[in-house]
Amino acid sequence: MSFWTFLQQNWSEMLTLVREHLGLVLISTLVAVVIGIPTGILLTRKQALRNPVLGIANVMQTIPSLALFGFLIPLPFIGGIGARTAIVALVVYALLPIIRNTVTGILGVDRNVREAAVAMGMTDRQVLWQVEMPLAMSVILTGVRVAMVISVGVTTIAAAVGAGGLGVYIFRGLRQYDNNLLLAGALPAALMALAADFSLGLLEQRFSVESRKRLSILSKIALAAIAFVLVLGVYGSWRASRSHTQPIAGDKRLVIASKDFTESVLLAEIVSQMLESRGVAIERQFELGGNLPHDALVAGRIDLYPEYTGTAYTAILGHAPITDPRAVYQQVEREYAERFNVEVSVPVGFENTFAILVRGADARRLGLKTISDVVPHARTWRAGFGQDFMSRADGYPGFSRSYGLRFAEQPREMDLSLTYIALASGKVDLIAGNSTEGRIAALDLVQLADDRRYFPPYEAVYLVRKEALTRGPVLSEVLSRLANAISTEEMRQMNYEVDANKRSQAEVVQEWITKKGF
């Protein structure tokens, strides 16, 4: 499918994402201006506060954005999932350039001019508003411009906490190896950054003393237009953010979340559609990054999300990996009930374990069947793993020890969905993918058998807040129908339909539900 046809087909969705993106950027920049400029002014008056406050703002900006979203989720009022959390995080990033430039701008006003103003009998307030602010304005606007361009970029990551925006396309495009999606996300974001840079640059020039000219009618109209678009954008996204804020107490909607990969989205969509067809109102908070779904579930922000027993057992509960599926399931079930008041559903029927993958060509040439077969070749090979695999207890360190594997160099750590492409295109020679990944066959990759039984079981289950189950019998009925209902082949097929054939998740899920008669 060409990019052009893609645009024609997804035009309205893309516009919605652009609007969400723009709204997040504008609101957060506005809030940062409202907080940052007065703070900056205060810092020019209270010298003792200057370095501590700038230091804090500096440190806040160095927090990786996904980590910051993680911190924010469990917090009351400012935390949670959705636009509000994203705005809080965006404001945190936007503050530093605005505060710093306000301070620099005001302190940079010519000493003679300031002294003349004071000696002329201006009050501190008059000096500030009539002399310092106008003269510092172009420097302050540079700060706002930098903040805004940063916001456009960081907002793409806000999709990970369900805030929407163009990041939805970018994350989805990465997962599905779909350049159209990537372009449709990245191109408007880049254009937006350029537009913000350009229009604020224009505004900045108006305030710069060197090029001071009286405003022509034309530039007045241009400035009015910019202001109008800003107001409209802020209003629009305020409306939008009101329409999907989090459920409040007493709201009967079920909030269903997923992790940020196709299979998790499909599993969440299956439950959602089945519940909807039974008359339950659903709010979807799909594609949350990292461990955000778990944090959100424990914090009561969401009611349900699909998980894997092995992940829960090792990554969340922190146990050393074991290989007995029964033992893992029972331990997870018991601990989740005790610690989180969360129920673990009966496994849905398939396992999604780590699949150690090599190129089909290599497997055939070298006769590779098991992971142990790789050991003699590994010294000249390079490996690429997702961040998850590199860090978790059942991941790389134990894996390499268990098989005695050594690679030519330290494995590359990259986004999981990129590792498939990296392997297929020869950038790396071995990866740890998901066994239900739809692209395994499409890219001619071969899964090697785990002959030493290193990997723990990863049975797919749903994690549900017990409180949600008490709201009515429908949810329990749906979950019991899904027990052992999805085979590995079915899951791989659904993944493939979405990832390789670019079909919509909703459509694929609906087909499957119809076929199953659910």
């Binding site: 010519d110 003679n112 003349a116 000696a119 002329m120 201006m122 003269l135 003393v209």
Partner: protein, 261 residues
């Protein structure tokens, strides 16, 4: 009223970071209508003395009286609005037109627009700038001499009884400086303003001052009329006068009256 307009009484000014006081034990009266020139090399405390008058600084000990009232008892805003202030780089607001710069204090004082406009025209004429040509320009579009004229006009705008001038012509080329000096001398005589004028240039001091106060290392070494100043045998005054002679020797070698030492 015969009491001096400005009076320093045992004024000492020091800052915590520096051991020696910047000004020590200064006693000085500035009479109404006179132009007192404070003369001295860089760092002698003459600018600090000036800044004590409009309360940009406050004395560590002693008192500065303006119109008989200690600056500590003045409301600093009304004190400063009654005091014109001109500094070396003029300190004009680069984002205001010449007209707004000059009309600044009247506007702060809440004059009507029409009255401000008339006053600005009057002042532009007074400092020799053509209103039609200059009123709407920005300071960045003026020469150094023109900026300084605007600076003087701005200081005069609300007709303050006292003018403080801190090397206002210091950054100008010699020709412009000379013409501004004579215009200022004529102007202050005509307007009957009291002025304290800081400079390090003895010629300027001699040309403009009704009295010259020589400062050295934070102390007032000498205050006297220009004529008596030239005859003084104070060592610092002699040193200044020598430089003048040396310069004139070189400028005018043919003059026998000022031959050798």
């Amino acid at each position: 009223m015969d009491d001096p307009l400005v009076q320093f009484r045992d004024v000492t000014y020091s800052v915590p970071a520096v051991a020696a006081p910047i000004i020590s034990q200064l006693n000085l009266s500035v009479e109404r209508g006179e132009t007192l020139v404070l003369l001295g090399e860089s760092g002698c405390g003459k600018t600090t003395t000036l800044r004590l008058v409009n309360r940009l600084l406050r004395p560590t000990s002693g008192q500065v009286l303006v119109e008989g009232k200690s600056t500590s008892d003045w409301d600093p805003i009304s004190l400063r609005r009654r005091t014109g202030y001109v500094i070396q780089e003029a300190g004009l607001f680069p984002h205001y037109t010449v007209e707004r710069n000059i009309g600044l204090v009247p506007a702060l004082e809440g004059w009507e627009n029409l009255r401000i406009k008339q006053r600005v025209l009057e002042l532009l004429a007074l400092v020799g700038l053509d209103a039609g040509n200059f009123a709407q320009r920005y300071p960045g579009e003026l020469s150094g001499g023109q900026r300084q004229r605007v600076g003087v006009a701005r200081a005069l705008a609300a007709d303050p009884p006292l003018l403080l001038l801190d090397e206002p012509f210091g950054a100008l080329d010699p020709l412009t400086r000379a013409s501004l000096q004579s215009e200022f001398a004529e102007l202050s005589l005509r307007l009957g303003k009291t002025a304290i004028f800081v400079t390090h240039d003895l010629r300027e001091a001699l040309r403009l001052g009704s009295r010259i106060g020589l400062m050295h290392a934070g102390r007032l070494a000498l205050v006297d009329t220009p004529e008596k100043f030239l005859k003084s045998d104070d060592e610092h005054a002699r040193a200044y006068i020598e430089t003048l002679r040396l310069r004139e020797d070189r400028e005018d070698e043919a003059d026998p009256a000022r031959g050798d030492k």
